[in-house]
């Protein structure tokens, strides 16, 4: 489904990563801070532009040339919830829904399902600027899922949240990925989060290149580098 080769020069290193993802798969991008994980994700999302390589999503060529952001059928969740502060929670969730789709009964049912499942009912009419950080993450998740994207990119969306909230959000994401069948690439520097979200496969980056890839058992059993061994070791 997703095939990408991303080359991006950074001041201190060159990111050069190839990856492939099948429909419904979940892939974890793991590595220390500054390894180039977020750069890879930003290049796939279109927030950043690769210097070289290609990004294909199904039959759609995302790069090169760089496809405009609004034509990319993907969801992108980052550390910042990025809610629109001048709108209510409901308006934020419906933000990416076209007027024609909004009139559709099925679409409305879908929004209501998201609202109920993510416990957004009590906040529904509240201004997005006045909700807590944890609530904002749930709203941004609902907003992303409202458009039913075939590919979801997660760039450390749980940073700064307490463990209970992280667990809830992970459960939600797993539930929705199984229900909706979207593919997912998640980036985090906490192995336990990635292992839960993407239990089958992971890619480890160091200084912009892949140093190991495979199932988590392999990574834990025989880490390819001392840095990876240190990152996977219990605190």
């Amino acid at each position: 489904m997703l095939k990408a080769h991303i080359v991006k020069k950074r001041r201190e290193m060159k990111v050069d990563v190839s990856l492939e993802l099948r429909r419904g798969d979940a892939l974890g991008l793991f590595g220390a801070s500054g390894a180039g994980k977020s750069t890879v994700l930003a290049c796939i999302a279109g927030i950043d532009e690769p210097d070289d390589g290609f990004v294909n999503l199904g039959n759609l060529q995302l790069f090169p040339p760089s496809l405009p952001l609004h034509r990319r059928p993907l969801g992108y969740l980052t550390q910042e919830p990025g809610l629109f502060p001048h709108l209510t929670v409901a308006e934020n969730v419906r933000f990416g829904i076209s007027k024609a789709a909004a009139a559709d009964g099925e679409q409305n049912e879908w929004i209501e399902t998201l609202r109920d499942r993510l416990h957004l009912g009590p906040l529904w009419s509240a201004p997005a600027s006045r909700i807590s950080g944890g609530q904002a993450r749930r709203v941004s998740l609902a907003r992303m899922l409202a458009r039913k994207p075939p590919l979801v990119l997660l760039d450390e969306p749980f940073a700064g949240l307490d463990r209970r909230l992280v667990r809830e959000l992970i459960e939600d994401l797993i539930y929705w990925s199984q229900t909706m069948g979207f593919s997912m690439i998640a980036v985090d520097h906490q192995a336990e989060i990635l292992k839960r979200l993407c239990p089958r496969q992971a890619i480890v980056l160091e200084h912009g290149t892949i140093v190991q890839q495979g199932p988590w058992d392999e990574l834990y059993g025989a880490p390819a580098t001392p840095l990876l061994r240190s990152l996977l070791a219990p605190i």
Partner: protein, 268 residues
Amino acid sequence: MPPRYTDDGTRMKMDHRWIARAGATLFAFALLYPFTALFARIGAWQWGGDIRGPAVSSIRVSLLLTSCAMLIIVAVGTPVAAYIAHCRIRERLLWQAVLLIPILLPPLALGILLSLAFGPYGAVGTFLERFGIEMTNSATAFVSTQVYVGMGYYVLGAVAAFDAVPQTLQKQAALLGLTPWRVFVRVTLPLSRLGLAVALSIAWVRAFGEFGAVVITAYYPSGMPVQLWVNLQSFGLPAVMPLLVVFLAVALPLPWLVHVLAQRRRHA
């Protein structure tokens, strides 16, 4: 001085707000001090028929034509500002220099340049005259001068307002499927409205009070600043003061209302 404590033993925080408020009040007094001259002994204020008639006409001219100028400034300046806000730094600096030039010029010099460039001896002026458009001493001249005077202020302010909208939000909106135009309408504009309101009110105030350039390009139809000058020349200070009060009453409400609306929406 030793720290003071409340009954339950917690240390009292000194409230410094009154010092800030006193400073702000002093600042306001200093800023408004020149207006005490309204009470200067200059003789009885004159507002007779020969003064009132032209004054009322000048109020009409100023309000109507400055409003037209503002419409043009907003319609042309907003997309230009949006473009500049997305430019890379070198191109942006070039645009900002272009915008600063008309603002930097002494108004009188700008008026002279405008009348030469758009007057009957300039290429554009000759061209427009063929279509019956007079570019000196006409409503068109008045409006176009105000546009030249106010445009730079509005666009520079609008660029700053657009810059203040986080890029991440605009990109997020695009990733949610909105075209650049819809991102602008649904995210950039609403989030920059306070800054745009400030830019518009500064352009309004600047254009409404413009004298130096307008007196060269459009002595007729006389707006309020030119009428103040005419009153001073013809009747002296007693005829200036009442028109000055009217000027404040007419010029202030619109920019102030724009601020009120923008603030209310912001805190709604």
